[in-house]
């Protein structure tokens, strides 16, 4: 990673300052810097920047990074460039279980992490079971994503069904569902961020082992790799990262799908560099999407999930077409 790393960091800083500066009440960048480094609680724009926008920025940075790395790990473990937390149904599974546990157990906040993780695991298991039924027909990589989208629809329907029981009770949940960064999301972030930091450290630690898997299971094993342990822990880390992001901000699609591809193009595939680059890239993408969501139709605020969904959906289509072409050839 030669010049790509410093460039990414510069872009992250620039977008972050822009993110803090813009909104219903624009704050000049100089004032933003002042608010960060010499905070004055009597200055109204300082309060807005720090109390409102900074928390929002932290949420965007964290969730983008976590989802992107989660997708990268999944793509590497399954050796399939089409998988990601959203295309495997993982995000939908987590979402459905969050809504279910809000409805039946009255759970809230960080306590939602465990049901979300359970939902993610169930969705992943269902996706693989479904893909197993298609074994021997067509391209296994496309089958997996097909199964994932079926499972995703299944869980989304379950979510909608539960919501329709008692729409009034779910007022807060709805904005979360469409992937909006709310003003109070930082409370969940405070609980999830340490978990995510540990997961990220674990991802960096198993990086070399994941590289080894690229040589093929048998060669990896005779070179000293415990293949199932490596794949299992990488997948576990990926699930924890994506579920923690979903709990904070809701199911934001496509970050985990697209960023790993961009990373491969720019920073390569092997070693720790690409993992770090992917984290930064994901953070940049979601922050930029949130910036767009808040400025495109100002003073109306769109939500970051929709912006990401529109941009990412198109990119997903291109990826699927490219893969299908390669298979056909």
């Amino acid at each position: 990673m030669t010049i790509a790393g410093p460039l990414l960091i510069a872009a992250l800083l620039a977008v972050s300052v822009l993110h803090l500066a813009s909104g219903a009440m624009p704050v000049p960048p100089g004032e933003v810097i002042a608010a960060l480094f010499s905070y004055d609680s009597g200055n109204f724009s300082h309060v807005i920047v720090v109390k409102q926008r900074l928390t929002r920025l932290a949420v965007a940075l964290y969730c983008g990074g976590a989802l992107a790395v989660s997708g990268l790990l999944m793509q590497r473990v399954f050796r399939n460039g089409l998988v990601s937390p959203s295309t495997l149904g993982v995000n939908s599974g987590a979402t459905a279980f969050v809504v279910l546990s809000v409805f039946f157990l009255g759970a809230s906040g960080g306590a939602l992490f465990l049901p979300a993780l359970a939902g993610a695991l169930l969705a992943l298991a269902l996706t693989f079971a479904t893909a197993g039924l298609l074994r021997g027909q067509g391209d296994p990589r496309l089958n997996l994503v097909l199964a994932g989208s079926m499972v995703g629809v299944l869980f989304s329907s379950a979510t909608t069904l539960v919501l329709s029981f008692d729409p009034d009770r779910f007022e807060n949940v709805i904005s979360w569902l469409i992937g909006d960064i709310g003003n109070f999301d930082y409370r969940e972030l405070r609980l999830m961020a340490p978990l995510g930091a540990v997961a990220m450290a674990a991802a960096l630690a198993v990086c070399r082992a994941i590289d080894l898997l690229a040589l093929g299971d048998e060669q990896a094993a005779v070179m000293g790799g415990h293949v199932r342990l490596i794949a299992g822990s990488a997948l576990g880390v990926a699930l924890i990262l994506s579920v923690s992001a979903v709990v904070v901000v809701g199911p934001i699609g496509f970050v985990g799908l697209i960023l790993p591809h961009a990373t491969r193009l720019i920073a390569g595939e092997f070693g720790r560099g690409p993992l770090l680059f992917c984290a930064g890239g994901g953070a940049l993408a979601v922050t930029a999407a949130d910036l767009a969501a808040r400025t495109m139709a100002a003073p109306k605020v769109l939500n970051v999930g929709s912006v990401m969904g529109l941009a990412g959906g198109a990119a997903f289509l291109v990826l699927v077409l490219a893969t299908a072409r390669r298979v056909a050839r």
């Binding site: 630690a205 198993v206 082992a209 590289d211 048998e218 005779v222 000293g224 390569g268 092997f270």
Partner: protein, 261 residues
């Protein structure tokens, strides 16, 4: 007498069905090049996988340096036995240097950086296989012969005292076949133990100190190439008539056709 590097002791193995290997025993010593020969499906590759700990025997045991292979962790086993598998196809976008350096995996912990020892082992392997000029290339840009030499360098970098080579010369042109075999023999002369699945009788008699002939999962013969590679043995195991001719201190086998049933 010195303890054998590899001991296969009454090993049987089957993939769930009938045994592919039955009650097979052999030993390989320090500095020895042992060739494993036999017709397709006789269990040669399966035997190599059993020795490498990839297949767990249903009966008997495999010892590496006196220790049961199934009791060693993957990492500890990899430090003793390095394997050039048949199937391995590294990803095209990996650089040759990245791939060869991965040979050191079993010597590194999760957090450690590459040590000086690792660097030295990689440099030695690169020199041994003469792949210096390929280091900067991507794996996908290599020819078949170049790739096999680079994979061999990766396996050598592992620094294990035993090398298992599963059909290392398949798909290579003659020059590269001899290149790989020469390297394998140098490794044996330097004190390593080489066990290689080969197809060619002549290459086996030129390079191997001993030959293990497998037939339907059993040992049909074990000894020097001259003892094992006889016209009668080849006819019985392969169903092929050959004529043995002696030249340059080795026995050459000229195939004549299918043996009379």
């Amino acid at each position: 007498m010195e303890q054998p590097r590899i001991t296969v002791d009454g090993v049987s193995f089957g993939y769930g069905g009938p045994p592919v290997i039955e009650a097979l025993s052999l030993e390989a010593r320090r500095g020895e090049f042992l060739a494993v020969l036999g017709p397709n499906g006789c269990g040669k590759s399966t035997l190599l996988k059993v020795i490498a700990g990839l297949n767990r025997p249903s009966a008997g045991r495999v010892l590496a340096g006196g220790e049961d292979v199934s009791a060693l962790s993957r990492r500890m086993l990899a430090r003793r036995i390095a394997v050039l598998t048949q199937a391995g196809s590294p990803p095209p976008n990996m650089s040759v240097h990245e791939m060869i350096a991965m040979g050191r995996y079993s010597h590194q912990s999760l957090l450690s950086r590459r040590s000086r020892e690792d660097e030295a082992a990689v440099a030695r392997a690169v020199r041994d296989m003469q792949v210096e000029e390929l280091l900067g290339k991507r794996v996908g840009a290599l020819s078949g012969g170049q790739l096999q030499r680079c994979r061999m360098a990766m396996v050598l970098a592992q620094g294990s005292e035993t090398l298992l080579l599963d059909e290392p010369t398949t798909y290579l042109d003659l020059k590269h076949q001899f290149g790989i075999l020469d390297c394998a023999r140098r490794q044996a002369r330097a004190g390593r133990t080489v066990i290689a699945v080969l197809h060619d009788f002549t290459q086996a008699s030129l390079y191997a100190d001993r030959v293990a002939m497998l037939s339907r999962g059993r040992l049909a013969g074990l000894g020097t190439p001259e003892e094992v590679l006889t016209e009668e043995m080849i006819a019985a195991v392969f169903g092929v008539r050959t004529r043995a001719a002696r030249a340059h201190g080795a026995v050459f086998h000229v195939p004549l056709g299918a043996a009379a049933p």
